[in-house]
Symmetry: C2
Subunit: 249 residues, 2 copies
């Protein structure tokens, strides 16, 4: 196993950082790494906003449900799906690009592009001994986030990434069984095989919690998912995205 795969498999989210900030060289290398990712038809449909202003970090932490590590870290990045520059280029080139930019297809392209870049950034950071945590919580209120960041139309802040030197080790939660996630030639349609995969996994998640909490906690993955997905969270999203001129047609 090489250093890349070791770094990938060692990943765990870090939620407590020392006060040491990232150097500008580190930030630059992380952004360059993000940019090296594949991009659909060369579109590069993302922007990255680094937050250094402490008041802004605090405000973002509040949006994200008062998660302290959004404000207290070595650096905070926000990754945005971005088709603003393409809309501008359309104007400058005299090309009617809006119908395409407003399509669900291009919305998907922008999301995928942004996430590929982000995962490169994360692995670059982790390879330097830094820890990271993705912050989906900024999507609790994108109106606020967009006004903090002054993002124009056709730009959607998707998630933050808190980066810094780990102050506390965290553990790695077990993943779905490989043969449940990985299919060959076609999607496994057999419901009993499917259910067996989930049952096996529920057992390993229960074992994990039991062990970590000395028997105080023993929920399964299914029960977690059931509870989480019963909540209708962030239901404003569709309207917000459409107002920003994306996912419209």
């Amino acid at each position: 196993m090489n250093q890349v795969i070791e770094t990938i498999l060692r990943h765990r989210s870090v939620r407590k950082f020392t006060e040491q900030p990232l150097s500008s060289e580190q930030i630059e290398l992380i952004v360059k790494s993000a940019q090296a990712a594949s991009t659909s038809s060369y579109i590069q449909a993302y922007s990255i906003i680094g937050i250094t202003d402490l008041k802004k970090k605090q405000a973002l932490a509040e949006v994200a449900g008062n998660q302290a590590y959004v404000a207290e870290n070595g650096h905070f990045f926000i990754f945005c799906a971005d088709l603003h520059r393409h809309q501008k280029i359309g104007e400058w080139e005299g090309s009617d690009v809006l119908p395409s930019i407003e399509s669900t297809e291009k919305f998907m392209v922008a999301l995928i592009d942004t996430a590929l870049a982000a995962q490169n950034a994360v692995l670059a950071a982790e390879s330097m001994g830094l820890g990271i945590c993705y912050i989906g919580g900024i999507r609790n209120d994108l109106e606020k986030v967009a006004s903090f960041l002054k993002t124009p139309k056709h730009v959607i802040p998707l998630f933050g990434i808190a980066v810094g030197y780990p102050a506390k080790e965290t553990s790695q939660k077990p993943r779905l069984p490989l043969n449940h996630v990985y299919h060959e030639n076609e999607y496994e349609q057999d419901e009993s095989a499917f259910k067996a995969g989930i049952d096996q996994y529920n057992q390993s998640v229960q074992d994990y919690y039991n062990k970590r909490t000395n028997g105080k906690r023993s929920d399964t993955w299914s029960s977690q998912m059931g509870t989480m997905l019963e909540k209708k969270s962030r239901m404003y999203m569709k309207e917000f995205i459409e107002k920003k001129g994306l996912n419209l047609r």
Copy 2:
């Protein structure tokens, strides 16, 4: 610079592979690497389908615009956004999860989760000396792809990844200037600075093509984007996604 960042920065898409197939150990390590990525609230909203059936590969290559490397490679993966298992779990747990699963928010979560996993898979493969190419072209006709792969409702095949031993070296296309993609504290709203970033980049893209083609090709990034985005491509996507029970509310 460490081995991880070197691997990330060395990336280029490979579009011609030798006939050597990946070993099952390689495939397993790539899938495990994918699964090690961060996942929003532990949701793990993706599945991966490996295509070994030659007829199926050929059919997928046709959908993707007759790209030979979709059929001829060491292994072909299809990464799918997947909320099917969550819908099933909802049934089993007696939780009303559909309103949440059908939301634009969860559609975004599934896309981001899938792309993070994919980029881990890509870097794991590249670290083994393999080359890769993302294949967005499968989205030319997802009705066909979904029927080839027998994917159920709430599953969207997003892209393929062709993997294999490189048979031909490719070059790395220049990326947008770092200071154009990376902002501090807020999105750069100054139009002249914004335009300067694009102008500078257009020049470097022109230089790149000029050099590679001995002056035969000198298009800019802006002109490429204008031409590409003038085409209304894959406009069926919104309806397809909605029919699959996602991005509805």
